[in-house]
């Protein structure tokens, strides 16, 4: 290879020397060789700058010459660039040439030489070259400095997407240097032992502050790097356009695209150049520029907009006629004059454009949902008349203008509202009536529909009603109903009358609606027909009237279930015999009734047809309330008289009576039916919806039945939910009842009679025993005032005791301890101490002689009050009853008596308290002397009388007096 290159060089040299020899031989020797070649390096622009002169050029001589320049890298033999530079050379001229290196010039030595030739393009024949200059060396590595590592190029500015070559120069003979782009290691190639080169293709924009590239040796000695500034590519301005509003100033606008500003580079600048005038301005803004128009001097403009940054320039052009780019300002001063009910005049002003231009203005009017558009030519003032407007309506008018001679763009709209004035209503109100006879007087209820906005022509203030009585004797009445009423009720003096209704607004009155009221109710016997509703409504049709009618009218209630039924009506022409009534208010399962009237020429309505129907029939939701009567052992009767067939959600066609029985047999007249719950029953069918009773027969006595009555309709039956239950009686029970009932009644009658006459009966059967205290004898005794007589005083009594022996108790307690919860002894006298202190006393009274009880004996407290029931006394006659009464009394007075067998012992006060069981007798035994009046005492076994506990109930003594002792 080396041998080949050496031989090639030798061949070239031989060839060149031959050419030189030829030129020397054939013509004069070539005098214009380049000399004084100097090479300088600009590292910022990575360029080599050459300058040289041409030797022996005669004064005023001028040649067109070709300089062939060779550049080698690292060594002279490594030629990397050959270029022919052609230029005209003058005497004594210093020639310049620059070459930009892709590789940073710090990365390698460069060698440059050149030779020259006269440009022989005009003269045929081979070119005769001068000899080569000597190689000039461009080496900046020597001037790098003391550092050991360098990275080049420094702070390079490139466009996004371009290719960049980076290199490092190391002086430390280390070859394990790694380089990174934003932290990513780069793969390079070694240029020479100390220099490596990295080729970056299509560099991307990362950030405005640049992209860091750095290298660091394997160990120590810091990092070195450079910042690559990648700019976005400058774009051509888009949508460049110029226009004027007033022929004074042009406003040029464009879309600048992305900003190419960087740390190393300002954002792109824009200049506007106009070629006809040669004027140029630097735009202050990135997207628009103002150009002052010289008045009336120039019509055509040819603009060049140039965007420029450090790396690139881009231009766009625009050629136009000034008057073709007029974008007028929005019109102003929009006013309305002569606004009346149906027309208005709009005026506006425009900003003048020059002296001779007319503007085309577009006027739009919005109102009542419509838009109308008109074009008007305008110099300075615009006028337009709007006609055919609706009264009392708000309109929006707007206007915009453009150059009428050469349309470019419309101006902005200018809006203004106006409202037309009111006019008299154009239509008579739509009126209908309902006539009732109340107490012999006709009362007519008028209904009317509010006039639509188009008919009302303003705000309706009131409705006028004029009633003219047809017999012309009663005169007429005039009423005024303020809006927004939609009806009124009028009692008429007499039925035959004509009613005229008009609506009034602030301007005038509408035409009148006329209704004629007559007493005759019309053809009320018209048969009702059923009509089937559809989704679209109720299709109604009727026969045309032979008489002349001015029209027909259909009326119905939209809320038939509610009392104010919301009467609706529909007017139809005289030639119409069918219509479809539809309403959003129609609901399924609601029955609607329609009446169709023919309106005669005299304005008298005549009922023609009645229709009824459902918009959609629904199955009945309820069953009738059934009453069962006449229950016998073989039959019963069902009745549902209260069931209204009219108010059901569908037309009732009849009823089904279901009967469930255990037998499961169905008699004639019924059929077997299986219900939804698989129950089997007999079904009786009633075809007549007005038949509301049914007798269920052929039943078994003493059997259980369940029955249900449900209506059936074209859309189904009522619910099968609640079966009523019944059990048939046995066959004989009715007979039995026939005997038993009178018997019971008789007994009851006797009992009531007995009760009512009980007083009489008692007096007859067992009269009352007289009360001694109420006896007249007492008054006689009192009058004698004999202290020694009669009833024993309690103070004088020597108390005896009745010992109650509780056989279950082992211990016995004294009478003083009777307040304890379980007294063994009953203390027969009051427990108060004042009674115990003198010694309690007990009197035994022979009830047989109780009538003669005396008041002188204070111990004779038979507290039988006069009002004691005689029956009690009567009962006490039995010794057993006496004891019971006694026990009861003690229970009342002492709280309780110990349970168990109890007996009473009588203990005489004269007996020794120490004897026998009596060791625990009262501590203060009564003084025997105190009861001196006690003559004889007798013990009674168990037969004790009890005083009633009324009155002085605390006194629980029992007085048992011998009759002989009381009357001594």
């Amino acid at each position: 290879m080396a041998l080949f290159s050496v031989s090639k060089t030798a061949f070239l040299l031989a060839f060149l020397s031959l050419r030189t020899y030829q030129s020397e031989v054939l013509s004069e020797p070539l005098p214009w060789a380049p000399e004084s070649l100097k090479v300088s390096v600009n590292t910022t622009s990575q360029s080599l700058h050459l300058q040289w002169t041409v030797h022996n050029l005669a004064h005023h001589q001028e040649f067109r010459m070709v300089f062939q320049i060779e550049i080698s890298r690292i060594k002279t033999s490594n030629v990397i660039w050959v270029e022919n530079y052609t230029t005209t050379v003058k005497w004594n001229q210093v020639l310049h040439w620059s070459w930009e290196s892709k590789l940073p010039l710090e990365c390698a030595k460069h060698f440059i030489r050149m030779r020259s030739a006269v440009d022989a393009a005009k003269t045929p024949g081979p070119r005769v070259w001068s000899s080569w200059s000597s190689w000039e060396e461009a080496d900046v590595q020597n001037s790098l400095g003391q550092d050991l590592l360098f990275v080049f190029p420094k702070d390079k500015l490139v466009e996004e997407g371009s290719n960049v070559t980076i290199c490092y120069v190391s002086k430390s003979h280390q070859n394990n240097i790694s380089c990174y782009l934003e932290g990513v290691r780069m793969q390079g190639e070694q240029l020479d032992p100390n220099v490596s080169v990295f080729n970056l293709n299509h560099v991307a924009f990362i950030r405005e502050t640049g992209t860091n590239i750095y290298c660091k040796p394997g160990q120590g000695d810091g990092i070195k790097g450079t910042v690559l500034f990648v700019s976005k590519v400058l774009q051509e301005p888009k949508d460049f356009s110029c226009e004027t509003q007033d022929l004074m100033t042009l406003n040029c606008t464009w879309d600048p695209g992305s900003d190419t500003g960087l740390l190393k580079q300002l954002s792109q600048s824009y200049t506007l150049f106009e070629s006809f005038s040669g004027k140029k301005i630097l735009c202050k803004h990135k997207s628009w520029c103002l150009w002052q128009v010289a008045p009336e001097s120039q019509d055509m403009y040819n603009f060049t907009l140039t965007a420029e940054n450090y790396l690139r320039k881009r231009s766009v052009h625009l050629l136009f006629h000034l008057t073709h780019r007029v974008h007028p300002m929005a019109p102003f001063n929009v006013l309305f004059k002569n606004v009346n009910a149906t027309s208005a005049t709009m005026t506006w002003k425009v900003h003048a454009i020059g002296k001779y231009y007319t503007l085309l203005c577009q006027v739009e009017l919005y109102g009542e949902g419509k838009v109308t558009q008109h074009n008007v030519s305008v110099k300075v003032d615009g006028v337009h008349l709007f006609s055919g407007l609706e009264p009392d309506t708000e309109y929006l008018a707007q206007v915009r203008c453009a150059n009428g001679d050469h349309f470019w763009k419309w101006s902005e709209w200018t809006h203004q509202n106006f409202t037309t004035v009111e006019a008299a209503p154009s239509e008579a109100p739509d009126v209908w009536r309902n006539v009732k006879i109340v107490q012999g007087r006709c009362v007519v209820t008028l209904f009317w529909k509010p006039l639509s906005k188009l008919q009302a022509h303003g705000k309706i203030l009131f409705y006028n009603i004029v009633i003219e009585y047809l017999d012309r004797t009663s005169g007429s009445e005039v009423l005024s109903i303020p809006a927004p009423a939609s009806g009124t009720e009028l009692p008429l003096n007499q039925c035959s009358s004509q009613i005229r209704i008009t609506a009034s607004n602030s301007v005038g009155t509408s035409p009148a609606s006329v209704l004629v009221v007559s007493r005759e109710p019309g053809n009320e016997e018209v048969e009702e027909e059923r009509v089937k509703g559809t989704e679209d409504g109720f299709p109604l049709s009727w026969n045309p009237q032979p008489r002349h009618v001015t029209g027909y009218l259909v009326e119905w209630c939209e809320q038939p279930r509610d009392p104010p039924c919301d009467l609706q009506w529909k007017n139809l022409g005289p030639n119409v015999t069918s219509t479809v009534v539809s309403s959003d208010a129609f609901r399924p399962g609601v029955r609607y009734n329609f009446r169709i009237y023919g309106i005669s020429t005299e304005r008298v309505p005549c009922l023609l047809a009645r229709k009824t129907g459902y918009s959609q029939e629904l199955a009945p939701s309820d069953n009738p309330q059934v009453v069962m009567t006449n229950l016998t052992s073989h039959s019963f009767t069902l009745s549902w008289k209260n069931y209204s067939t009219e108010s059901q959600p569908s037309f009732i066609q009849g009823y089904h009576v279901y009967l469930k029985s255990k037998a499961g047999r169905c008699h004639s007249g019924s059929e077997k039916a299986v219900l939804s719950d698989d129950a089997v029953c007999c079904k009786y069918k009633i075809d007549n919806p007005e038949q509301k009773t049914f007798v269920v027969e052929n039943l078994q006595p003493e059997s259980f039945y369940e029955f249900l009555v449900t209506p059936y309709t074209s859309v189904g039956e009522g619910p099968h939910d609640a079966f009523a239950k019944v059990t048939t009686p046995d066959e004989y029970s009715p007979t039995l009842i026939r005997i038993l009932l009178p018997t019971v009644f008789c007994i009851l009658l006797i009992m009531i009679t007995c009760y009512l006459k009980s007083q009489w009966m008692k007096e007859k059967c067992y009269p009352d025993i007289p009360d001694p205290y109420k006896s007249s004898v007492l008054s006689l005794i009192k009058s004698k005032e004999n202290p020694h007589l009669t009833i024993m005083n309690i103070k004088d009594c020597v108390p005896d005791s009745i010992e109650v022996l509780n056989k279950q108790e082992g211990t016995r307690k004294s009478f003083t301890e009777t307040e304890s919860t379980k007294p063994t002894y009953l203390y027969l006298l009051p427990t108060e101490k004042r009674y115990s202190s003198p010694g309690p006393c007990i009197c035994f009274e022979n009830f047989t002689y109780n009538q003669a009880a005396s008041d002188s004996a204070s111990c004779g407290h038979v507290p039988a009050p006069p009002k004691a029931p005689p029956s009690q006394l009567g009962l006490l006659t039995s010794p057993e009853n006496l004891l019971k009464a006694l026990e009861k009394n003690y229970m009342n007075s002492l709280g309780e008596i110990p349970a168990g067998e109890t007996s009473l012992n009588y203990v005489s006060q004269l007996a020794s308290p120490m004897s026998g069981d009596m060791s625990n007798l009262p501590k203060n035994p009564p003084e025997p002397a105190l009861c001196s009046e006690y003559k004889m005492q007798m013990a009674i076994p168990l037969g004790l009388a009890s005083p009633p506990s009324s009155g002085s109930s605390s006194l629980s003594s029992i007085t048992l007096l011998d009759e002989g002792e009381r009357y001594h």
């Binding site: 420094k154 702070d155 932290g183 405005e208 120590g220 810091g222 990092i223």
Partner: protein, 185 residues
């Protein structure tokens, strides 16, 4: 020495407080600075201790050497370093206004650091006056600034300055702590 104030404790205390306050913000300044310079500076754990500036004396010193210094020498070193730091912080602020014009946080932190360094310088001068030490004359430590420094070089320069600012602040805290112990208030 004649004219020396009686107690240097107060300027020492003031300087110590300021140095402690500065110490709290030095790592934040370095972090903010590195985050704005891009890779490799903003890489986590970035450190290049071999990068130095000839115009800025390094704070690193062996403990023995540091301990052997007398008060005057210690204050004089710190005084010289913070004088250089104020000038370098000004330079770095200018560089970053160029390189990172859209980063007001970084610029304000650099400005604040420079003002605090100047404040500490003033405090140190007060201490030296109080101790009767000669105040070294203000000198132009930066000398001829290489204005043609590349962007990468300027980024490195700023890194060294903000790093050394932290180191010198740490050292100043130690210096002043020692002085504070010596001259209790």
């Amino acid at each position: 020495s004649p004219g020396a104030p009686i107690s240097p404790a107060e300027p020492i205390s003031q300087a110590y407080s300021l140095a402690l306050y500065m110490q709290k913000n030095t790592s934040a300044l370095l972090h903010t600075y590195l985050q704005h310079q891009g890779s490799p500076f903003s890489d986590p754990g970035f450190s290049a201790p071999e990068l130095q500036l000839s115009s800025l004396p390094p704070a690193a010193v062996s403990f023995k050497t540091w301990h052997a210094l007398d008060d005057g020498e210690r204050l004089s070193h710190a005084q010289g370093a913070f004088l250089a730091l104020t000038q370098h912080l000004q330079l770095v602020g200018d560089d970053q206004r160029d390189l990172n014009p859209g980063s007001p946080i970084l610029l304000s932190q650099l400005g604040a650091a420079r003002l605090r360094a100047q404040g500490l310088l003033g405090n140190m001068a007060a201490i030296m006056t109080a101790l009767g030490l000669p105040i070294p004359p203000e000198e132009d430590t930066l000398g001829v600034v290489p204005f043609g420094a590349s962007a990468f070089e300027r980024k490195c320069r700023g890194y060294v300055v903000t790093r050394e600012y932290g180191h010198w602040t740490d050292r100043a805290v130690r210096d002043l702590a020692l002085l504070k112990a010596k001259y209790p208030g």
